[in-house]
Amino acid sequence: MSIALLYERSENDENGIKLTAQQLGIDLTFLPFRKIALSISKDGFSAKTKGKDYTNIIKNIAVVLNRAQSKNRRLQASYIMEMLGKKTLNSSQIEFVCYSKLRTLLHLWKEGIPIPKTVYVPCDSTDTMKNGQEIHNEKDIAELFQQEIPLSEGIVIKADAGTHGKMIMLAKNHEELIANIHETKPSIINLVGVVAQELVKKWFYDLRIIVSKEKGKQPVCYHIAMARAGFKDFRTNTFLGNLVFGAKLPLSIQELAVKCAKSLGKGSEAWILALDAMVNVKENKTVDDAYLKAELDKAAQAFLPVQKVKQDETRLTDFPAWNSKLETAFQGYVNTKHYENIKKIIEESVEKNKSALVFHESNSCPEFWENTRLATGLNVAVPLLKCAQSLIDH
């Protein structure tokens, strides 16, 4: 019985998992999950692409590493594989919770984990009557939000299942709020209703924290987080061009992260999660913004070679060689004094404001090869594969 990597297409993370499995001597089976016919009937099940029959391959799989990129497909994949008797990483229960920011926050809130104040209105911004006429609900929704969150402090509207900062919009006045609510039409990433959150005054960075659990063991929080930093926007997603740094975590935050992940992984034997957290720094800053911006600008210059390698298409034809170039470029960035200065500022700020941390999102299929791995030193593929093995060994 083997471990399968279920995927839609092999991107850097999937190639990284393959490479890591080779290095660890773990035999991986590959299972495409897009143009494949999964059939169930009184005769059993089959799984066939146009040119290959995967039925027996699936029968010999014990654990499925679910790396389907589409959140919807990933949820289907975990559920299907579990119904076929396979263990999954992550389980469909975890996928279901992490799919939605609201569901994630409800689990965290229930366990007493600090979260940003969040308001959900189940109504959509517009409704369409039978005669085709539209009813606009934006003003009502805006009023409901404003009853709970002062607009003067900023109200953040979020797509419930968005990623990479997609459809996350900040409003600081009524017109902006109405316009942002109008944007949240039901879609594949925002099924029903509108989610709003208080604006966390996170200064210039947020944190990505990795927590994993092998079957039969206690969950472990990796002691270094990836900090995403920049002043480009109120969002700190790397997709928006922000920089990444490694940041040592105080023990109290590691313990809180474990509690947070346990609340999401409840009921599953093994899991791996990337938790996103913000520190509500407010005015409790350790250096002035002008100095920090200058340092970030210089660090951004040092990061350019890394960005250049990321765009290099040799990753598609010779992944190991491309990866070596990426690691060399990243090391060059890490070796600059600007990187070290900003890293130190982040670590001091986290330590000073550790009681002001809020968790706001959890990622069940984290991207890690390009940023998290290099910034933290943790190759997430290793705990991922160990978690998978623990499900076979026990």
Binding site: S10, P32, K35, I36, K50, K52, Q69, H164, K166
Partner: protein
Amino acid sequence: MIKQANSNPQEVKAINKAKCPDCDAELDVPADTEKGEILSCPGCGLELEVKQVKGGCVDLQELTIEGEDWGE
């Protein structure tokens, strides 16, 4: 429209050989395939762009696409 890589070589008279860069499946590519065309791998279903056709050899590269609900 995606041109289908042929898994049954008897259906066409002239074919080129190529390998899916992702699953290593062997593809029989119609001889009239040109650079820039998109093929679908019969093994894994991946869409592949023809980067080069030279002397019976076809270089294929995975297409970079992103769905709206793609995310972590």
